[in-house]
């Protein structure tokens, strides 16, 4: 066991014994198979020790035996809520390596699908966030709106969640004829529903009471732990890859990066809600003027990347996702490393949750929005 740091607990009553409890692999609030060994004193959390590996499937070793189009089918099984962005990362990395430029049409469609995936992911986060705080109604509101996005995905990409819509050099097929109409209808519908989310949860006194000032993550800690994405931006860590290293159609879009300096769980909640509004405005700017053009380039069947190292960073709904390919000229990569956003966000949990109650630990962890296969790969 790692050393349990002595926390001086000032209490005029008799001291309590410390004991360790497993918020184990099968737990409603870990959203997957993450095991937290929590050292408790009564209800106060002294030390949280994440034990991962219960869903480790060795994807990086598998990718060393797959060709590049095949790898794309695995990346959307890692962070399955931002599947399209992870696929796009691999596709962009291969395209940069082969110095190939995709048409504007592909860039526009990729960015629209990115933002739709971000909306769907934030909606599911909002459902489960409410459930973690004990409000079961958010589950049905959020998933009701998410189903409509999944219908749009299914019509265009054929799959609801693990879309695999990207290939190196473009898209698998063109968008469905009434894709634009359905997206515009959906945006009109969802703009009336997002205020409903605020009425249901944002103004709720119990929710504010449970998240205000809980789970404090200072800016230095956020940078040091590498906490990216909305969780990092809520502490003022400006790390939006769409802004700093724009890719696909993000240079043509005007949107602002949402930063918040309150560093607590409520700030992380509000950053995500505001990001949903940003995603809607991004899609609106793009959906009407998708340029004409071919949806995929003529690529050789087996792509051989030149020797060298290629790194591509993409902003998923949870943070910065990086694909690092070391290629030695053959048809499959020599070494492929995925920089997963959840991995760094998870290990900042300990110094956020120290000293809080166990119920606050659950609230903090759900504002971090962790996906466990993204951590274990």
């Amino acid at each position: 066991m790692s050393e349990i740091k002595e926390v001086i607990v000032k209490t005029d009553r008799m001291a309590t014994d410390r004991y360790q409890v497993n918020m184990g692999p099968q737990h409603p609030s870990t959203h997957g198979v993450l095991r937290l060994l929590v050292t408790l004193e009564g209800e106060k959390v002294l030390n949280v020790q994440p034990h991962t590996g219960y869903i480790h499937s060795g994807i990086e070793k598998m990718c060393e035996a797959l060709t590049y189009p095949q790898i794309i089918h695995l990346t959307d099984r890692m962070d399955y809520l931002s599947a399209h962005m992870s696929n796009e990362a691999v596709a962009l990395c291969v395209e940069n390596a082969l110095q190939v430029e995709v048409s504007d049409r592909v860039k526009y469609i990729r960015t629209i699908m990115d933002e739709l995936t971000r909306l769907a992911s934030h909606q599911l986060w909002w459902c489960v966030y409410g459930m973690d705080l004990g409000a079961l109604t958010t589950f049905f509101y959020g998933l009701r709106d998410r189903e409509l996005i999944l219908d749009i995905f299914e019509e265009t990409c054929g799959a609801r969640m693990t879309v695999s819509y990207n290939t190196p050099g473009g898209l698998m097929f063109d968008i469905h004829p009434n894709f634009q109409k359905r997206v515009k209808d959906y945006l009109k519908y969802f703009k009336t529903k997002l205020p409903e989310y605020d009425e249901l949860l944002s103004g709720n006194v119990i929710m504010r009471e449970r998240t205000e000032g809980i789970g404090y993550l200072t800016l230095e800690d956020a940078i040091d732990f590498g906490v990216t994405g909305p969780s990092g931006r809520a502490s003022g860590f400006s790390n939006d890859i769409r802004k700093h290293q724009p890719y696909s159609a993000y240079p043509f879009v005007k949107f602002n990066e949402i930063l918040d300096h309150r560093c607590d769980s409520l700030a992380r909640y509000e950053v995500r809600i505001k990001e949903m509004w940003e995603s809607i405005s991004i899609i609106e700017q793009l959906i009407d003027n998708i340029p004409e053009g071919d949806y995929a380039l003529k690529m050789k069947g087996v792509m051989k990347l030149p020797e060298g190292e290629f790194y591509q960073r993409v902003e998923t709904a949870r943070g910065e996702f990086g694909v690092f390919i070391i290629s030695d000229g053959k048809k499959n990569p020599y070494r492929l490393k995925f920089r997963s956003s959840g991995f760094s966000n998870l290990f900042a949990l300990n110094n956020m949750a120290k000293g809080h109650k166990i119920a606050d630990l659950v609230a903090i962890m759900s504002t971090l929005d962790l996906i466990i296969p993204d951590i274990d790969r």
Partner: protein
């Protein structure tokens, strides 16, 4: 500052290291013994100020094991790649940088778990994903005929 400015400043500040302009970023390969001291310098000097370790990758090359650090400075917005090699394959050992960047503590545990690279004076070097005694799967010579179904 841009890549080539960074390259010139790095070559003049660290003459002992070999620096070259990679495909996207400046790559600096340092010797294993002065890795820690260079890492502290890269973080503390205001000119570089690399305070964000993006990711730490372990690679198993035929002749040596290599650790690749991707560093970014939030203040200056420039990115750099730091590499360190060790030829010893039986028990490779590299100094830890977890006191410079806290996130390295867990990335190093992952590199130890999957590649077997030991990090000296790392506070809590345990396996992250696999059970003890499993072997190091990401090594090229890893063979496991019971669990892996070859294609």
């Amino acid at each position: 500052m841009t890549n080539d400015e960074l390259k010139t400043v790095l070559t003049e500040r660290f003459p002992a290291a070999e620096i070259k302009q990679g495909f996207q970023y400046v790559e600096m390969t340092v010797k294993a013994e002065d890795l820690h001291e260079i890492a502290v310098q890269l973080k503390q000097t205001d000119e570089f100020y690399f305070d964000y370790l993006i990711c730490l990758t372990g690679v198993d090359y035929p002749e040596n094991m290599e650790i690749i650090y991707h560093l970014e400075s939030i203040k200056h917005r420039h990115v750099m790649v730091l590499k360190v090699r060790t030829a010893d394959r039986v028990n490779p050992a590299i100094d830890t940088v977890s006191d410079v960047w806290i996130t390295a503590k867990y990335h190093e545990r992952e590199a130890y778990d999957l590649l077997g690279i030991h990090f000296n004076n790392h506070t809590d070097l345990r396996r992250l994903f696999l059970e003890d005694g499993w072997g190091f799967p990401l090594r090229k010579d890893y063979v496991d005929e019971v669990r892996i179904v070859e294609r």
